[in-house]
């Protein structure tokens, strides 16, 4: 998802450090926010944890909104016809890495749920698994955020230094 603004039709130029920091903030804040919202913390903490969780999720979405208008997000999400050959080459390489990482994470998640179910059925351990619709909503939107931001994060990880990119304006 790339949001084109009138002032920055090619996306806002963020340094690779900024993109990596924003991506990290999206993942960390969303994960922590969902944990505070959904994990049973006892009646004393429940209300304040719920508010803190909501604030963290809102901050995560704000970081995502900044990323959605960046030039690296444009490179990751634009149709092929809008990119030049270097951008297409880098995007294809990043998409391959991002897909491999995403598929691996999803596979690990499914594996965890299978093991947790087996242990619960055998009565050996009670590991947390998503059960309610709120749990599955959190998992779904988390995976959605990951799928939308991972290619841009990989592009930032593999792109040149910020100084070099600034010099490209000359």
């Amino acid at each position: 998802m790339f949001v084109r603004s009138k002032t920055h039709p090619m996306g806002r130029r963020l340094t690779r450090r900024a993109v990596l920091a924003l991506t990290g903030a999206v993942y960390a804040l969303y994960g922590a926010g969902c944990a505070l919202q959904l994990l049973p913390l006892g009646p004393d903490l429940a209300a304040s944890a719920s508010v803190a969780g909501l604030l963290m999720i809102a901050a995560s979405l704000a970081a995502f909104a900044l990323l959605a208008g960046s030039s690296l997000q444009r490179q990751a999400q634009e149709p092929e016809s809008q990119l030049d050959e270097r951008e297409r080459f880098e995007r294809n390489r990043a998409a391959y890495v991002a897909f491999s990482a995403f598929a691996g994470l999803v596979l690990l998640g499914v594996f965890y749920i299978v093991i947790a179910n087996d242990l619960a059925e055998a009565g050996k351990a009670e590991l947390w698994i998503p059960q309610t619709s709120a749990h599955w909503n959190a998992v779904f939107w988390g995976l959605m955020l990951l799928a939308l931001t991972l290619p841009a994060a990989v592009l930032a990880w593999s792109s040149g230094d910020a100084e070099d990119q600034a010099a490209d304006d000359l």
């Binding site: 030049d84 050959e85 951008e87 040149g160 000359l170």
Partner: protein
């Protein structure tokens, strides 16, 4: 790695990266990547760039490093 003299020809013609990028239809950043040797162009892009500067592709790109400009000038002066 592909070596190039893009920045030399660009400076000689007084063109900015944006000017060159517009002539060959790429993002100005891509010209920077090419000049630094961070990206090897396709044959099509190399031919387009050579056409912009009015030189042969092998004058612009090479598999071996280009001789320093001072050395080349000295050599042409001796000839």
């Amino acid at each position: 790695m592909i070596h190039n003299r893009l920045s030399v020809f660009r400076a000689e013609r007084g063109l900015s990266r944006k000017d060159v990028a517009e002539k060959v239809g790429v993002n100005p950043q891509t010209i920077g990547y090419l000049e630094r040797g961070d990206y090897a162009p396709s044959v099509e892009l190399a031919l387009k760039l050579a056409a912009v500067f009015g030189v042969r592709v092998e004058d612009l790109f090479s598999l071996a490093p280009f001789a320093p400009l001072a050395k080349a000038l000295r050599k042409s002066g001796e000839a």
